[in-house]
Symmetry: C2
Subunit: 133 residues, 2 copies
Amino acid sequence: MTQVRTKPRTPTPRQAARRKAPVDRLLDPAFFKALCDPTRARMVACLVKCGVPCTVSAIAGCCDVDLSVVSRHLKILETGGVLSKIKKGREVVYTVRADDLAHRLRALAAEIEVGCAGCGCPGTGSKTGCCPA
Amino acid sequence: MTQVRTKPRTPTPRQAARRKAPVDRLLDPAFFKALCDPTRARMVACLVKCGVPCTVSAIAGCCDVDLSVVSRHLKILETGGVLSKIKKGREVVYTVRADDLAHRLRALAAEIEVGCAGCGCPGTGSKTGCCPA
DNA sequence: TGCGTACTTGCGTCATTGTGCAAGTATACC
DNA sequence: GGTATACTTGCACAATGACGCAAGTACGCA
């Protein structure tokens, strides 16, 4: 199913840590931090299921925390690149950055497959086998 | 590029929150929590770049924290479904669950696109437009 | 059986983060 | 201009999490 690209490899973790690779950027902790809180995850899931941009008040309606907390969480999600924010009069409308997110997630999936393919480890779908017996 | 599937939609966030959808499971905070710490992110990036299963000691060589801290972080990554662990004698070997991760990330990307497509919001690549003016 | 290596766990400390309340800012409407 | 609505920010507090050290467990080897 997945076509594996060229596969740079570094024998030891110490050496691997020095080498720069796209996966370093894709594993940006700020992005994952944005989604690691249950309240924030619920808010994003809510926006995805809703399918339309929503105001802060509307989003607050789907979680049982104070409006100020919702406002702060939305800011964190915006900083993490998950949501985008548009001011419309006195309302603030938040939207899921769907294209960016999907692109980022797929790129990360590809990088992980490229890095781990061919080592014959369980769960990598490889056949060659490079793990110590 | 992306073929959009059927697109369930719920007008308000409050209603959307009640409706169960795959995105709820895919946005599991435990998974994102595993990757939200800089040290853990570096460890995973290191394993991906390295391309082979590594022992706890070897992984500790690529980050400047105590071995006990590394051991704890690896456990969190295993719990979050990022790594798998195999005991070999007195060594413990950790492997990136590449197939699972790639599958999960792609599934999430697809769900986000399905949920957000067609609303005409910036960053969704849609043309129809359902956002309030 | 004793010893060394590899890893895990208990404990205390410090920093970060999630939360609610209250006050503040910005915008629309009368 | 005054008031209501929508959201943000300051502050205090509790909970969580990352960390190092030290002690403990598991396993291989002589």
